[in-house]
Symmetry: C2
Subunit: 213 residues, 2 copies
DNA sequence: GTCTATACGATGATAGAC
DNA sequence: GTCTATCATCGTATAGAC
């Protein structure tokens, strides 16, 4: 029997290993050799299946973020529809919940998702331009949707104000997401919290922030 | 005359170049060759003057953060003293202003500080453990001071609540700091704001967040 | 088609001779 | 202080085995 061949699905193994290592070591810090080593496949397998390290990054992000974005979009639409039926403007808190809850809940849905959440929490601040670009590409349409919905909820606020306050909200959320990585929790001496507890902590904060003054 | 010798201060030149490149390319992305090239000194000068790349990082951070932390500490003390004299508890907004205003203002104090602010905004989320560790080491005592002051301002809130809300605040602030880098501003199509405008935007948000419910 | 072994050229940090 | 050598490690390309 050979060393590590006959994988049920090589691509999947690579994606899983890459997701974990990107999250813990960063895009630059995770070498293809480390990734393929963890996945027990050959070094060249990445280039065969994905073409390049950059394309692998895109695949890692895409696999998780497309379903996540769809869920967030659907939740947002529900909030807007419900408000419309009542002839009212949507509530800021409901909009924020529709975006934040699926994000934090996602950690607990399937194995590996935890690492992914840490990773995207860091991506926006990643020093590597490649990572930031790919990430912004996926978050941008979601952010614009959020902006529109929030403008309906807070019509008295200027576009500029809503834009920046949503940025602050993203900052708080991303920070929470990457702080919840095992390594960082240890460095800061925090005990673990589940998605529900985290949501209950962050939601009043960001809602009050958005509605301030 | 030789190519690049006879620097007024080699160490200073290296620190400046490293600060800029760490901020724009990240710790891993900025090679010693790029740093010494930008500083017009020999490749080996870093190892001669600082010992290693890691020690250079510490020096870069230390140079700016020690005076910044002292200023923040002093501002915080002033707020607490002023409240004590009046026989009242300090106001949450004043505490947050004492921490945030010097941070954002710092960008405009001296050349190079702008890059530094971007850099520390990113450091907390840096995938490289080295960077995170050094950064946490410098921010931790400041955070604890903030926590104490905030507990005086909001005695009805639990320690856990104050801890997390301050984390959200840090998230919003850090995100703002690294978003204000020239590259990211371009990627997001935002126009530049000065420290005063930014402070006026973020302060109501984080204050309302801290006081929520 | 899928996967492995191996090699290539570039670039990384650092150390020793001067 | 500088110059140069060293040695590890990077992403990627290729040739061939199953």
């Amino acid at each position: 029997m050979s060393k590590g061949s006959n994988h049920p699905d090589t691509k999947q193994s690579i994606l899983d290993a890459a997701e974990f290592l990107f999250a813990t070591q960063g895009f630059r810090g995770a070498s293809l050799r480390a990734i393929t080593g963890k996945a027990s496949v050959n070094v060249a397998a990445v280039n065969y299946h994905f073409g390049s390290k950059k394309s692998l990054l895109k695949a890692v992000i895409k696999r998780r973020i497309l379903p996540l974005n769809q869920l967030r979009r659907q939740r947002l639409e529900e909030v807007r529809e419900r408000a419309k039926k009542k002839g009212r403007t949507p509530d800021a808190k409901d909009i924020l919940y529709a975006f934040i809850q699926p994000t934090l809940q996602f950690r607990e849905t399937e194995p590996g998702a935890k690492e992914f959440v840490t990773f995207i929490g860091r991506s926006f601040a990643d020093p590597d331009n490649t990572v930031r670009k790919v990430f912004i590409q996926f978050i941008k349409p979601m952010f614009q949707l959020l902006q529109e919905a929030m403008h309906e909820a807070l019509p008295q606020n200027t576009h500029n104000q809503i834009f920046w306050r949503l940025q602050f909200t993203m900052g708080a959320l991303f920070h929470t997401m990457h702080i919840c990585s095992d390594v960082t929790m240890e460095q800061l001496n925090i005990s673990a919290l589940d998605a529900e507890a985290l949501t209950e902590l962050i939601l009043p904060y960001v809602t009050a922030g958005m509605k301030a003054k």
